[in-house]
Symmetry: C2
Amino acid sequence: MEKIDKNLLGIPEPTLRRIPKYIDLLKRLKSSKIKYISSKIIADKLNLDSIQVRKDLAITGTIGKPKMGFELDELLTALIHTLNWDNLNDAFLVGAGSLGSALIGYKGFASCGLNIVAAFDSDVKKVGTLVNEIEILPVDKLTDMIKRMHINIGILTVPEDEAQATADEMVEAGISAIWNFAPAHLKLPKEIIVENAQLTQSLGVLTHKLAKKLNSEIAPINNFKKF
Amino acid sequence: MEKIDKNLLGIPEPTLRRIPKYIDLLKRLKSSKIKYISSKIIADKLNLDSIQVRKDLAITGTIGKPKMGFELDELLTALIHTLNWDNLNDAFLVGAGSLGSALIGYKGFASCGLNIVAAFDSDVKKVGTLVNEIEILPVDKLTDMIKRMHINIGILTVPEDEAQATADEMVEAGISAIWNFAPAHLKLPKEIIVENAQLTQSLGVLTHKLAKKLNSEIAPINNFKKF
């Protein structure tokens, strides 16, 4: 029964976020000609809890052999399949500024199931130029092309004040999932998958910890409460 | 007593990751001339649990007024202070590829306490060129300049196979915190703050959910276990 529930509920997000780490590690080990691997060794190499790793790997359905562990190739294939990274998903990117251009040119996405097939911008000076061999198209063609090409993923790298309107347009045209790099909180229908790239969230953790470490001016909570 | 414990333990990471969202929202509301805000309204606008939001905001030490809520400016200032975003932290970036160049040119970092003061690359063709008015320096100057300028933050945008060696060099020279964009798991001394930017983690969640939504080829867990 437990298996059925898990399936219905889907894979927990923290597990999904660890899977790319497992994939990275297994690819590196594979290039070192390693054939079998245990969850204990994976946990050690990634500084994770080994019970957690065992649970995560169980989700793929791969079964390890006693004393030998998992067959590395089989486990890697199953992990890649779990994220659907064995399929290429076509995506449109809107906002060909510096971050957008970097994403267009990022070669690592192909192994993560992502294929940026076209990019759009509202700036007439950018339209028609090439960024990493992809021509920047005018944003007023976005709706038509999403419909015509049945695109499911939209990557949003526009400025904050254009984010909601662009996302609305994507959804209206039939996009199912938005990867949002704009510093904006999008209000969209519940069935739309929104994944925020959270650059500034990541940065906030770093700057806070650094300030604490350096004994900077941050007042302790108790003193701070008094002002 | 509880307050002291919280202070000793530090702010939980999930709270730290939500603070940039609060800051974004409050900045937007501020520009609409709103003076007071309740944790309930913040929770509604960000689709968060209102008890969670109240707990998060309590960490800043700001106290709301009955029936009026928090004074918006005071709360915003306290949140920014919690992340130390009211100070500019000088950072060096290593790896001036497309992602590195995008980060150099990203204008949003100044309001997040980050100031990229120099960038380095091992490619002699890149050295000496300007990216968004910052000159790319040869990577063999990295150690000296970190020491000379007392730089605390290193941003790592090198390829995977150069990541560990570059991180080691940063740490050796005195860097306290590394913002890692390389698809590599860094092994560093425990006292070094490492924050992984997790682009592919974010993408994995998206592609998995999309596959599930589209009823794609992903086999249900129960069937998958049999092969």
